[in-house]
Subunit: 207 residues, 2 copies
Amino acid sequence: MKPTIHVISTGKQTKEEFSEITRIIHEYVDFIHIREKSRTALEVAEIVETLIGKGVPLRKIIINDRVDVAEVTDVYGVQLAYHSLSVHHVKKNFPNLRIGKSVHSVDEAIIAEKQGADYLLFGHLFHTASKPDLFPRGVSQLKQLTEQVNIPVIGIGGITPHHSPHVFRAGASGIAVMSGILQADDPLADVKEYRNRIEEVQYGAEL
Amino acid sequence: MKPTIHVISTGKQTKEEFSEITRIIHEYVDFIHIREKSRTALEVAEIVETLIGKGVPLRKIIINDRVDVAEVTDVYGVQLAYHSLSVHHVKKNFPNLRIGKSVHSVDEAIIAEKQGADYLLFGHLFHTASKPDLFPRGVSQLKQLTEQVNIPVIGIGGITPHHSPHVFRAGASGIAVMSGILQADDPLADVKEYRNRIEEVQYGAEL
């Protein structure tokens, strides 16, 4: 399976800023997550419309938490957190949506897989400015987790291009990056660097 | 049509406090709105479960804004605000839910009806502590509005038992009350007083 890159919105950028960066980078990434906790349902739906207008395909868009917005905008899927509706409920009522579940332990991962999650987001793996007080779970716990579940696991949290090979070697199917791309001086250059490092792993050219 | 009483949660009470008052009053009211803007999807779903546990029928429960939670919990309907998904989108994707739309003008009301809203919430009608800086729209604007639309209109905003007859005479089908019931010293006594005043209007016994 081709390794994937997920880009997750920061919740701090304007709609214009986020969508303009997305326009530039979307061809080099696999999924764009709209994770805008302080925005209303209508605003999130408007962001989807804006991204579509910038040429981002619907199949690349994932919406955080708001299952209703994901359903009416017909995007690829929804990312559920601990405070969201359960995977079980969403699976049953929204069969057209792919369901990603954010997990923080092997136990949570196993439950999410049983409930029907299509993939997992696990982290955070490394030190990150967005969660300065949390001790990173690291790639060893990631490896344990990927050995216990059969669905794809995406690593998240402080992943630099340099880290990416370790994340994939621990069994992850993808990486998720937030500020590392969206708040970079040159987001396109950064995306390409992540992509290059990933392809080095894939084709065994890294060492 | 029987006049209805809607009780709307304050967003300030604990789940326990709100559900306990609801247990006491629900037989005397027609709809209970869960309007808890600062709560997560999971918390709102848990409130629904708690209300069901207290004997409140699903057909009396309306959820504010979170269409997804309304769908998975199978409640009566959803109340949409200006920042929510559009009536049109919700109607198309969630055919099982009744849709209430909050409006603040005749124009908004006409649009909401055209888009398929099942009823309207219009206000605020009178001075209310929750919106101290807004000038109340009053019953005369309510009357204009009820003459322009065919779907039921529920009045909201500072409605006391004393006001209720005026609201119904202006063509409203119901009243919505928040703190006037939920933060009353004796919520059950207050509900009964609203109910009595409404029945006086209905049976022409008020004058």
